[in-house]
Subunit: 148 residues, 2 copies
Amino acid sequence: MSNSIEIPFSTTLMVRDTCLCLHVQRAARALARLFDDALRPAGLTNGQFSLMMSLNRPEPPPMGPVAGLLAMDQTTLTAALKPLQRKGWVTVMENPRDRRGRLLSLTPEGKAVLAKALPIWKSTHAMIDGKLPDGSAERLRQDLQALS
Amino acid sequence: MSNSIEIPFSTTLMVRDTCLCLHVQRAARALARLFDDALRPAGLTNGQFSLMMSLNRPEPPPMGPVAGLLAMDQTTLTAALKPLQRKGWVTVMENPRDRRGRLLSLTPEGKAVLAKALPIWKSTHAMIDGKLPDGSAERLRQDLQALS
DNA sequence: ACTAAATAGATTGATATCAATAGAAATGGA
DNA sequence: TCCATTTCTATTGATATCAATCTATTTAGT
């Protein structure tokens, strides 16, 4: 009975090698660091870049759809907007047609920051794209989308 | 000149659709929520499960290799250990052969928690595995590893 | 119009993440 | 041995993440 709750080491190795959640978290951390480093001269993190890019639309979107697009909690989005508002890159205004909601838009300064970051994104993305076997990037995106 | 810093909407759509970093972050958030929800009855988050599973070894490992395995900052590992120590699931002891370092090990209580979580992991993992086209899970792991 | 239910966000509290920095201990070269 | 360097970890500060809970507003049913 004494070691009835012991998990064999072989099981640990199996979980480590097969767990898709772990593999994705690991890749997420590594890619986040990579893009954070690359985008640092532009003053953005990878998450801020993705968020601000998603706000570059003809019409200011409400928060819900943006959170959905980024697959993040609405709470997280509220928090993520704070530093961007402080820096004057993003405007959060009340939706005149639904006073519960907010409309998110980039300021001219925000657009300028984003424009400065775009070529960095392009070169960084091309670099990691090159680390994958030919054609697998598209496949990878599809597989990841199936998990979201 | 006035709109020379405008990024076309088409570029935004291209970045959204192709950015591997965004796709991975999105999948990471979705999978984290999924496993967090499933593992909640066991009292663990997905990250705690992965960390504790990586400590289930014959010999207690030092922090550096564990952080490397999980592709996380050592600072993050230090912080992640705190709640697990408080709960009495993980022991952090000074390495007698290198007093700068620490050795990490699971307590019997920690092993019991992990054993309780294992079947949850198995069923949850089988479920998401089923959401992927046949055989693509292994391919996905390889692609993700190439990014780490 | 009135009220119950649904919806959109905000707040709080806990953990996760990393950069920058600092400290302690081990290592290597003179 | 002595000292500079390296290695291993901790601390601090900022942002990221989500659950639980709350308020305000809209919508739907009557």
